[in-house]
Structure formats: C-alpha cells, structure tokens
Amino acid sequence: MRSEPAAWSWAEHLRQGGTRPWSAWTGEAAAPGSPATGHPPAGWVPPAAAQLELVRLLAARPAAGPLVRSGRFPRLADVVLGRSAPGRGLAAAPLRWPHDDGPRVGAPPVDPADLPVAELVRAGVGVLAELLVRASTGPQGRGRIGRPSARAARPALRRPSATAFQLCGPPVTTAAVRRTLAGSGHREGGRDPRVVLLAPPLDLALVQVWSARVQDGAPVRWRGFLDRSARRPGLPPSADYAALARGWAQRVGPGSVHVLVAPDPSDPSQGSAGRAVADLLGLRLRPGAHGRHLPGEPRELSAAGVDAVRRVSRILGVRLRQDRHRDAVRRLLEVLDRPGPHLLTVPPRHRPWLEEHAARVAEGLRSGGYAVHGDPAGVLPAGAAPSGPRRHDVLEVVLDACLALADPQAGAREAEQR
C-alpha cells in the first residue's frame, strides 16, 4: 500500500464534504480491497497536511451543510487546497503515513490531527484572504461587493425641533448607541446639545479602540497596541474621558455634559447602553428598531473576530491596494458581524500604567462639575479575563467566515435579515 493513493482518495473524500480524520482513513486504506484508496492523476502533488485538515474542519462546521448538499463545497475545497498558507509559520508538512519514517529531507510528515491550531488559523486566514481578493477583483467584484448603497451611507436629516444631543466615548459603544438611537429616528447634532459621554471601564475602552483600528485596516496586535499606547503621554483620545468631558464643557458648559459610567459592559450588543442614553435624554425608542451600519463605523466584534480581521487584513495588505483593501475588510466585517464577548483585558505589565490613568480620569470626572451618572470609580479596569484572543475561537470565526463568503446567497440572506 502506497501513501499517495490513500492521500488522493482522502483528499477526494474531503472535497465532497467528508469529515473522516486521516488516522481513520489510513486504517481503512490498509485493509485489503478498501475503497479508501484510489488512482491519483499523473502529476498530482499531495496538498500539505494543514490544507487537508482545514477542508475537513470546514466540512465539519454546521454552516457547511448547505454548501455540501448543493454540491458547491468542492469549489471551496479547491480554493483551500490550491493555495499555501500565507506568511510565516511552519513548513508545509506532508501527511504522515503509518510505519513510514518519511523522506530524508524536507519538513517532517505529520498527522493532520496533531497540527498546532496556529497553523490551521494561518491556513484559514489565507483562504479568507483569497476569497475576499477574488470577490474584490472578480467580474462582479469592484464597485459592488462591500460598498454600501448611497442610501445606507447617508444618514437621515435631523428635524430642527428634535432634541439636540451629542455622543462621545469609545468607538464601538458610541457607534452602537448612535445606531440604536438612529433606528428610532434620533440623530445627533443641533444647537446647544446635551453631551453624553459613554464611559465603560478603561480596559474595555482600550479593547474598543484596538478593535476600531483593526476594523479600519491596521493589522496591529492587541499586545502591540498596548505597548504603543503605554509609551504615549496620554490615553487614546476616545478613551480619555476626562479630556473629552473637559473639551465639551468648554463648548456647552459642564452642566450639559452627562457622563454615563460603565454602561453595562457585559452586554456585547450595547443595547442596554442605548436604552440608558435614551432614558437620560428623554427620547423614545421604537421597539425592535435598529439603525443601519454606516461605512467606517466600528462593529461589535468578539476579540476572536477582531483578531481574525487583523490577520486577514495583514495578508490583504500584501495582496490589494489600499482602496480595495478597505472594501475587502468591509466585506469581511459583514460576514463577521455577530456580537460576542470581548473577553480581553490588559495584561499585568500594563495594568499599573492604566490604573494610574484611570485614577486621573475618575478624579477628572468627579471634580469637573459634570452630571455624572454612576460612580466615577467605574472607569477603573474591570477585567479578569484572558489577555489575548484565543486561537481556537479565532479558528472557528475564520472557518465560519470562509463558509459565509463561499456561499454568497447565504451571506445575502443574512444581510437582508439584518
């Protein structure tokens, strides 16, 4: 029994949506007359173990069902098998065959089940980038995919008699609250507005700033973002509540600045924050009404989602020019648009830095004469969660995004539902 026929038949099994692991396949292939063998075409080169395992994991996701049943899964599988994992990582290892020491040179063979998750993430990110590049440069690509309609991009006009208000604070919470209010017809602006400063705990605010930068195309790691932030004299502008409140107070007076401390950080969709702001401003929310995402507006993504965007964006940076890069990231955000808990916090080495700033911010909010709703101490770092995105979570996000991009009809259905 040679390994190549078994590898070829396994690859074919996976292309059709099969999910049997390589170890089970080789066990069957060793049996006399087993169907788990085949005759690879001349010149067939076995794909790397990571690519094959990625196809298997894709097929095993619940979202793969429609693709497999409709016969479109092999097309996605061919994208996976036809492109090496991008960037740096482990070498493209061949499949390990039982009782075979492998070749004398080259990367050591592996059982795909033993591959590190990081390698599967890397391969998956390459597939995601490839699907986005194809969507961006294909015949239907440019000018259609990822570009919002003019109607969606243009906010509705404010009525002159509407309540004048202004929101500020960390980008994701602010955007979510803005969208909630806009869904009920309440637009920011107007003369002498009441300003609502949304002030979640500062570690969560930093996560939001990081998320917004990644969504804007900057492939910066969470740790790298913190390193750079800690070397700067102040906090990022949207997280420096004391400076924000001071700046608005100079324009509208401190009594018109409302600080909403810690708007429920456990609510990833920030719906409760929207309700709290509406109550504070005396605005009515229409039940079930949601505003549309505006271009460039950061979305509520889980930490794994943000990390997936970061990784894909990094690869897209090599493959697409800036304008198409932004379109492709926007398209990715559409398929990732599922709120999830951030589950991130500031690691111990940066906590003294952040706690020092948090104490300054809390004191600034206390002493500024603003209308503070909640205890200013609520801006102190809250987290006790993992300090970085978890790779297993990132892999799941990447797999589902690949399936969503490979099934545009499903993507369109989701977009309509949203």
């Binding site: 482990l90 080259g106 590190p116 940076g317 090599v318």
Partner: protein, 413 residues
C-alpha cells in the same frame, strides 16, 4: 552551465531564477546585476528592476509575506515582474534569496507566470557550519532576542516545531529547496553553485555565479558596497541586548531598519576588526557534518548541474576543537568597547541630524516671515496696486512715479 545569451528571435526565451540561499553572496550578485543592468540589456540579458529591492518585493507578493510594513509596497509586484519577464525576448535574471522558502504551490504559480520560457533555477549554497551561525546573526539583525544556544536547539530539533526552525530549513535545506523549485524541471536546468571553502581566491564565487548566469565575469564590475556584512561575537551580543530594549514599541520598523540595522550593524559594528567570529560548538558541528553527508549523497543522486563542488558543502573538519567564543556569555569588556563605538556612531548621527534640524527650523522661520509678510495689509495693498497697474494706465503711472520717488524697484520685496 548556461551558455551566454544572444538576443534575437532564434534564441528561446530563458529565465534564470536565483532563489537563494541567504548568506551565500546573494546581495553581492544582486548589486552587480543592478549596477550593470543597462550594459546587460545591450547583451540581451534583462535584470528587470527599477529599484534595488524590486525582486524582494515580488517575492513578498508571491508568498504573501509581511516584512515590517514594506509589504504594502509589494502589491502586484510579482505580476509586474512576470509581465516584464514574458515581454523580453532573451535571457531574464530574477534573484532573491527569500524565494528559497516558497512552497510547491507558490513555485508552481511562479514558474507558470513565466509563460513558455525555458526556466533555470539557481541555488547558491554554503556549508552548514557557516550558515547556522550566520542565520542566527541575521535573526538578531531582524530584532530577534533569542540566545545562540536556544537558536541552535531550535534548528537542530528534528520536529522543526518552531517558526524559526521552519524558516531556517525553508531557506537553507539545499536538497529540499531544489526539490521544491526544480522537481518540474529537467535536472540539467537546476544549478547548484557552491560557495568555496575559506581561503579560496576572493573572486572564485563571482566566477561561479557569472558562469551559471551566462555572464562575462571580467566585463562586469564586481566592486560593490552592498554586501550583507557579518558581525563578530561581542557585536552580535550587543545588538541582541539592544533588541531587548528597543522592541515592544520603542522603535518602529522603519526606524529600526535605519538606525539599528543600517547605522549600527552594517555601518559601525561590522567594520570593527579583530573580534572573534561566530562558530558552531563541537556537538552541533558534528551534527552538521553528518547532515551534510546526507545532503551530498542526495544531491549527487539527482543529476543537478553543480557549479563548484559538493565537497564545499562539508564543514571544515579542522575547525573542530578550536573552542567557541560563546555569544550568550560574551567578554563584557569587548561588548563595552563595541557599545562605545556604537554610542560614538549614534552621536555623530545625532549631530548630523541636529544640523539638519537647525537648518530646517531656520527655513521654516524664514518661510513663516514671508508668509506673514504676504498676509500684511500693506503687502496686500501693494499687490493689488501692481495687479491694477496691469489693467489701468493711470494706476500704472502712479506706481511708476512712486517707484521713481522711492528710488528702487519694489519687485524684490
């Protein structure tokens, strides 16, 4: 060996792809090709590059590699390169050492992009006892802080389970690189250039390169300042300590390249003479010698065109037992001397930049004054009068009278 090319329709289009390996004189060859590209073109040989790092960018693009931010300049670089390759009727040379790490799929894509040209793959290779320390040093010059022993442990790990080991073997495992790049080609179109052993004539490597590239070694000027110079033990140890302090957000990629790699490593520390060189410890040297024997055996069986000798790939046995100057525990006095030279070089650079800053501040001040003057009421009035003088004769006469009364032209104001 490849025959020298002559342009013309009778000559089949030919592409020579020099894929590495790093630390085998590749920067030197690329610089000779870059400097002489116009002369080469008149001989029917194209080195398709409008900037020195064009093939590097193309390689980043081919392999979706990020490289400290410079990859943003690489979008579409491989396709542009391949287009120039396909459009040339004679011989084209493509050269970059990181191409060695390309996967089979990337190699297939690269070769397909050259169209129907006859492709030759060239790999230059040096013995592992010199390559392993050189790669660690290259890692240090790229911000890594890993110690020498930890690096050796990583690359000698049979599982190659680290990214570092994967990269090392990806570019340095000669039989595997040639298999990935050459398995779809006749063995006669796969060329292995071996780097001569220490003590060989200085220009022997250039002679070997020139012969495999089909160039006249004497007609091209091999003088070049763009090499990838190596450092001694205390200098590398110093650089590693610098990395530990400037990583984590202190120096961004471009600043690191400019001040640490170029100014400190290449222009200062590599010019210090007399420092002990990096060597392999005896246990790793023996491992390298055993592995090299396997390589020589595999390579000899494949029928490649070897330019030089496979014996060059065997580590020098005389070096065993010489003793290692351990860069993980360097002579602190030697490190301090290297650090002093580094401080002086940085002070010179700071002084030069300060001079530039003073000059530029003076320029900014002067421009501010001019701007203010242009914005003054009197200046605006005078400008209006001059403009009106072009249209109204009376105003022109009055202006002329004013200038005569003042005694000089105001045009210089």
């Amino acid at each position: 060996m490849i025959d020298p090319a002559t342009p013309g329709p009778a000559v089949r289009r030919r592409v020579i792809v020099h894929v590495g390996a790093p630390k085998t004189g590749t920067s030197f060859v690329q610089d000779v090709l870059w400097r002489n590209r116009e002369q080469l073109a008149t001989q029917g040989v194209l080195y398709p590059a409008d900037r020195f790092d064009e093939h590097f960018l193309a390689a980043l693009d081919l392999m979706d590699l990020h490289w400290g931010g410079i990859e943003r300049e690489a979008v579409g670089a491989w396709d542009r390169l391949a287009e120039r390759v396909r459009a040339w009727s004679g011989t084209v040379i493509v050269s970059h050492e990181i191409l060695a790490v390309a996967s089979r799929e990337q190699v297939r894509r690269a070769l397909a992009s050259f169209g129907d040209a006859e492709v030759h793959v060239v790999l230059s290779a040096r013995d592992l006892a010199r390559q392993v320390p050189a790669e660690w040093q290259e890692n240090v010059k790229h911000r890594r802080t890993l110690g020498y022993r930890a690096f050796l442990d990583a690359v000698t790990d049979p599982a190659r389970s680290s990214e570092l080991a994967a990269w090392f073997w990806g570019v340095q495992e000669v039989p595997d690189v040639l298999d990935r790049w050459g398995s779809a080609l006749p063995p006669g179109q796969v060329h292995l250039v071996t780097v001569p052993k220490p003590g060989a004539p200085r220009d022997l490597l250039w002679q070997r390169f020139a012969s495999v590239l089909g160039l006249d070694p004497d007609a091209l000027r091999p003088e070049t300042d763009r090499t990838n110079p190596s450092l001694g033990v205390p200098e590398t140890a110093l650089l590693r300590r610098v990395n530990e302090r400037v990583n984590h957000g202190v120096l961004e990629g471009e600043d690191y390249r400019r001040f640490v790699r170029e100014l400190l490593a290449h222009r200062t520390l590599s010019r210090r003479a007399g420092s002990p060189r990096l060597e392999l410890p005896d246990d790793v040297r023996r491992w390298a010698a055993d592995l090299s024997e396997t390589w020589v055996e595999v390579l000899a069986s494949r029928g490649y065109d070897v330019v030089g000798s496979l014996d060059d790939l065997r580590p020098d046995p005389a070096a065993e037992g010489r003793g290692l100057t351990d860069p993980d525990h360097p002579d602190e006095a030697a490190v301090a001397q290297a650090a002093t030279d580094a401080v002086v070089a940085l002070l010179e650079e700071v002084t030069r930049l300060h001079g530039s800053e003073r000059f530029l501040l003076g320029e900014v001040g002067r421009l501010h004054v001019e701007l203010e003057r242009s914005r003054s009421l009197w200046f605006r009035f005078r400008r209006r009068v001059v403009l009106e003088a072009d249209r109204h004769r009376l105003v022109a006469l009055a202006l002329g009278a004013y200038r005569r009364a003042r005694g000089r032209s105001s045009r210089s104001a």
